[in-house]
């Protein structure tokens, strides 16, 4: 049973989300659970809180989940998604203040070493000015 911190990538663009997740897999490996979602409910640029919630659930473990978002609406929809989770689970989800691509790769590297959610987020957030 995976007890690595999970990573969720949220972008307005489905292509960016998919590409960033591919970078995580290639640079870090498969052992860190990583999910991605992008696009609004109509499939255009945007984000969908239900898909974000599902992505979080798909990588959730007791170790927690670090979420990476691109622009404002993505952050707010990620917050709504966390609020839709069971509150006990929601407490173990962090929306990291870090760039989505670099943040996700660095966070996954940190998570692969067995770090806690707090350590994973702190390392990724060092990237933000």
């Amino acid at each position: 049973m995976s007890q690595f911190v999970g990573i969720v990538i949220v972008s307005h663009s489905p292509d960016v989300a998919r590409g960033a997740a591919a970078m995580v897999r290639q640079m870090v490996g498969e052992e860190v659970p990583c999910a991605f979602t992008g696009g609004n409910p109509a499939g255009d640029l945007g984000t969908d809180p239900l898909k974000i919630r599902d992505a979080i659930e798909s990588v959730w473990s007791e170790a927690g989940v670090a979420v990476f978002v691109d622009l404002g609406g993505a952050e707010m929809n990620a917050e709504m998604a966390v609020e839709m989770l069971d509150p006990a689970r929601g407490k173990k989800v962090r929306i990291c203040n870090a760039p989505v691509v670099e943040g996700a790769v660095i966070a996954a590297s940190e998570a692969a070493g067995g770090s806690t959610l707090e350590q994973v987020c702190a390392t990724a957030e060092e990237l933000s000015p």
Binding site: D44, G73, M76
Partner: protein, 205 residues
């Protein structure tokens, strides 16, 4: 009485949703100037989902209907306006009795405005929908005669007042000084909703 209340609820939801949908192109044009140009189409998608469920929504108590409508906006809009308007309506729904008086409406609306502020990590004067919602909250709190006329005027003035503002939050803030000279699309959609509600209350629809 019950049928009348249900009919009023139905009119409020229907008129508000249809008003914004009818102005979707205008909202998109405003958003193309300083945002990402999706405000009209996104609001239209969310509000069409609300209209599709109109019969069921109108049967619910007002608070429950607003919460359900807010949830549609959260799940269908897909842009920043989804969580913002969703938060507004869900919070409003939490605070409203089925037939609220002016004081209940004012306190529920103030709580909803605070919830939108928290969701968007924003405040008044940043060229957002809050610049309309704030004056509307103040007007509701002050009360007085001809409340709907005052609400219309305050909301219209508030939209116009966003034009010279520098955008501090949202996509428009990326433009810096270039965000000045344009009306904020979110402020305009908020005003459209206020006007629609006033129309229903005044019996114009």
């Amino acid at each position: 009485m019950t049928a009348d209340v249900q009919d009023l609820r139905r009119q409020l939801i229907k008129t508000t949703a249809e008003r914004v949908i009818a102005h979707a192109e205008e909202l998109t044009t405003l958003d193309q100037a300083i945002g990402d140009g999706d405000h009209g189409i996104n609001m239209k998608r969310g509000l069409e989902a609300v209209l599709a469920d109109l019969d069921k929504l109108a049967e619910k108590p007002l608070g429950e209907a607003l919460k359900a409508a807010g949830m549609y906006l959260v799940t269908k809009v897909g842009g920043a306006s989804g969580p913002l308007y969703g938060t507004l309506f869900m919070s409003l729904g939490k605070g409203l009795a089925d037939i609220p008086d002016r004081a209940q409406m004012a306190s529920a609306f103030r709580a909803a405005v605070d919830a939108v502020k928290a969701r968007g990590k924003s405040d008044f004067g940043m060229k957002t929908m809050l610049d309309v919602l704030g004056p509307v909250a103040e007007t509701l709190e002050a009360g007085g005669s001809e409340l709907t006329a005052t609400l219309r005027q305050r909301a219209a003035d508030a939209v116009a007042a966003t034009k010279p503002l520098l955008a501090i939050r949202g996509r428009a803030s990326f433009l810096g000084e270039r965000s000045k000279g344009h009306i904020d699309p979110g402020a305009r959609s908020s005003q459209l909703m206020v006007e629609a509600v006033c129309d229903v209350i005044e019996g114009r629809t």
